[in-house]
Symmetry: D3
Subunit: 79 residues, 6 copies
Amino acid sequence: MPYVNIRITKEGATPAQKLELIEGATDLLQRVLNKNPATTFVIIDEVEMDSWGVNRENVVTMRAREAAARAAAKLGDKS
Amino acid sequence: MPYVNIRITKEGATPAQKLELIEGATDLLQRVLNKNPATTFVIIDEVEMDSWGVNRENVVTMRAREAAARAAAKLGDKS
Amino acid sequence: MPYVNIRITKEGATPAQKLELIEGATDLLQRVLNKNPATTFVIIDEVEMDSWGVNRENVVTMRAREAAARAAAKLGDKS
Amino acid sequence: MPYVNIRITKEGATPAQKLELIEGATDLLQRVLNKNPATTFVIIDEVEMDSWGVNRENVVTMRAREAAARAAAKLGDKS
Amino acid sequence: MPYVNIRITKEGATPAQKLELIEGATDLLQRVLNKNPATTFVIIDEVEMDSWGVNRENVVTMRAREAAARAAAKLGDKS
Amino acid sequence: MPYVNIRITKEGATPAQKLELIEGATDLLQRVLNKNPATTFVIIDEVEMDSWGVNRENVVTMRAREAAARAAAKLGDKS
C-alpha cells in the first residue's frame, strides 16, 4: 500500500523514463518491505524550473551557471 | 483548519465536479469532526496519466488495457 | 486511483472518526468521479497543535483564545 | 536540509516574486534553525483557481465575489 | 535535486530497511535521470495503521482480515 | 490562502522556534504576494532522523560524521 511521490524539475523526462521510475520505485518497495505492487502508487510531479529553489537560487539560474562553467572548462581545455 | 489534498489523474474532471469534491470534503470534515468550513482548504491536483503508476504500469497503459478488455467483452456478447 | 491526504490538528480524533473520514472521502470520489474504492487511498495526518499555524499564531494559542472567549461569554450571561 | 513546499493559487506570480519566496524561506530556516541554505529546497506549486477550495467555494467564485464587493463599495463612495 | 517522499504504514520497518529505501530511491533517480545523489532527498513517512484507508477500510481491519484468511487456510491444509 | 509545509528533521526545534517559522512564513507570503495572514496555513513536519536521507545516507549517519569531523578538527587545533 505504499505511496511514493517523486518530485523532479521539469527538464524533459520522457514517458519511458517516468515508467522506469514507476517500475523502479515499485520494485524497491517490494524488495525491501515486501509491499504488494498492485497497491503501490507512484506519482511523479514535474515542477517548473523557476518554481524550485535550492541554495537561495532557482534551478533556471543554477543550470545557467553550470552551463557557463562547462563552457569555460572547454575553452580552458583548448588553450 | 483542515487541509485536504485530493490527487486524481487528469482525465477531464470538470469545474463542477471539482466543486463537488470541494463541497463534499468540507462537509465531511464538518460532520465528522465539527471543523469550521471557513478554514477548511481543499486542493485538487490533477496528475498526468503517464506520471501516475500503480501495479508497475502507468495509467495510460492501464486505461488502454481496460478499454481493450471492454471491447473484447462486447465482441464476445455478439458472437 | 485517487489519493486523498487529510491533515488535521492532533486533538483527539478517535479511530471511529478517522474511519468515517476514510469512508466519506472514498464515497465522495466514487460518487463524483466514479473512482474505484479498491484503489482509493485516504491518509490522515494528525499534526501537533504547536506545529500548525494560521493567522501568524499556532493552534495552541488559538484554542486558548477561543476558550477564554467562551469563558468570558459565559460570565457575561450570568451578570 | 529542510524542504519547504509553498502552495499558492495560480494568479500571476512572476519569476521574480517566486525567487523572493525561495530566498525568504531559505533565509528564514537559516535564521531560526541555522539550516544550511545549500541543502534547503523550496518548491512552489501554483494551483488552478478552480482546484482550490476554501469555505466550500473555489477561488474563482471567491475572487468574483471580492471584485463585486469592491465595485459596490466604489459605487457607494460616489453616491 | 529530486525529492522523494515514501509513505508506508507503521508496521515495524527497521532503520536498516529505511536506509535501503533511501539508497534505492537515490540510485533509481541517478540511474534513470542522472540526478546527483548529493542533492537527492528521500523522506519516509510512517503512518499509523488506523490513519491509512484503502477500499473504505483502515489497514488495521485489512491486516486482521488477511490474518484470519491465512489462519483459515492453514486449518484447511490440516483437514 | 497559501499553504506552506515546512519539513525538517526532528532535532529539538522548540515551540518558540516553530512559532518563528510560522510567523516568518506568513509574513513572507504577505510581503511578496500580499496574501492574507488570516488564511495562510503553515504546517511543520518534524521527521525522524533515520527517515530522512540525503546523499544516500540518513541524517543520523550524517550528524555522526559531522560531529567526528568537528572533534578531529579540535584535536588538530590543540596539536
